[in-house]
């Protein structure tokens, strides 16, 4: 009984996330995910691949709050969104960059699924 209570008090508070707006498109080479995360710098960014899922997390930690708020409508929660991956993606070649609050994740397809032209002898 005592241990259960202890456990409850030590669990961290549930984190709140907001889903970033994304554009996703596919080309012959692979997929591109663009996610809007204003207020997130390179240091606050986390992209994890696990099984057939990619999770993008952006933390606004670096942003400073100047003075007293008079009016707030921006969401203060961190960003998170999970996507299921096409098995054709070569997970070892996934790359990500962030520029002015827009995260771009490039997910290339593995060579074997890319369309190839076979020359006839």
């Amino acid at each position: 009984m005592q241990t259960t209570l202890d456990k409850q008090t030590t669990t961290p508070r549930t984190e709140q996330y907001v889903a970033p707006n994304v554009n996703i498109f596919e080309t012959q080479e692979g997929y591109v995910i663009q996610a809007e995360m204003p207020g997130v710098s390179k240091d606050g960014l986390e992209v994890t691949l696990e099984g057939n899922e990619i999770t993008i997390t952006g933390r606004r930690g670096a942003e400073t709050v100047p003075g007293q708020p008079l009016f707030r409508e921006r969401n203060t929660a961190d960003y998170r969104r999970v996507f299921e991956l096409d098995p054709a993606i070569d997970t070892s070649k996934v790359s990500a960059k962030i520029n002015q609050g827009v995260l771009t994740v490039t997910l290339p397809k593995s060579e074997r699924v890319k369309p190839r032209k076979i020359t006839v002898d």
Binding site: F25, G67, R72
Partner: protein, 155 residues
């Protein structure tokens, strides 16, 4: 006097779900179409009017606006009659050649947002900075708008 045997209303008689579900589908269809249109429109509208925060300290007002993925040159900041306007155009970065689009939630196009400032500011000293997709405009308060300490004199 006409004595007619009372019949249960149609909806509560057990006639299978056939009739009921088609009615339901009709109603759902009626509501879903305009609602999804509305949701889409509001999403685009929220992109066209970026979210802002306004802060103040003793010396300045600060306006922070969310403008992800812009170029510095494409953002216009202006002050007119105590109203700060942030406007510009978000251009779509690159066109996807022979690509298939799965999701298109980002807003591209012209946007505008105005914030009425609660007190006079020194227009010549306004600074704007763009970092991590957030525009921060620092507006120093005009001398007359700053809080002043007045000494009470005792004779």
């Amino acid at each position: 006097m006409n004595i007619v045997r009372w019949n249960r209303p149609q909806l509560s008689t057990w006639g299978g779900f056939g009739g009921l579900s088609t009615l339901r589908n009709e109603i759902d269809r009626l509501f879903e179409a305009p609602l999804s249109e509305l949701a889409r429109a509001s999403q685009f509208l929220s992109g066209a009017t970026p979210a802002v925060d306004v802060y103040e300290d003793k010396e300045n007002f600060f306006v922070k606006a969310e403008l992800p993925g812009m170029k510095k040159e494409d953002i216009d900041v202006s002050l007119h009659d105590g109203t700060l306007s942030i406007s510009g155009e978000r251009k779509s970065e690159e066109k996807v050649e022979n690509g298939e689009v799965y999701r298109s939630e980002r807003f591209f196009g012209r946007f505008q947002r105005s914030v009425m400032l609660p007190a006079a500011v020194d227009a010549a000293q306004i600074k704007a900075q763009y970092q991590d997709g957030v525009l921060t405009v620092t507006l120093p308060k005009a001398e007359e708008a700053k809080p002043k300490q007045i000494d009470v004199q005792v004779n």
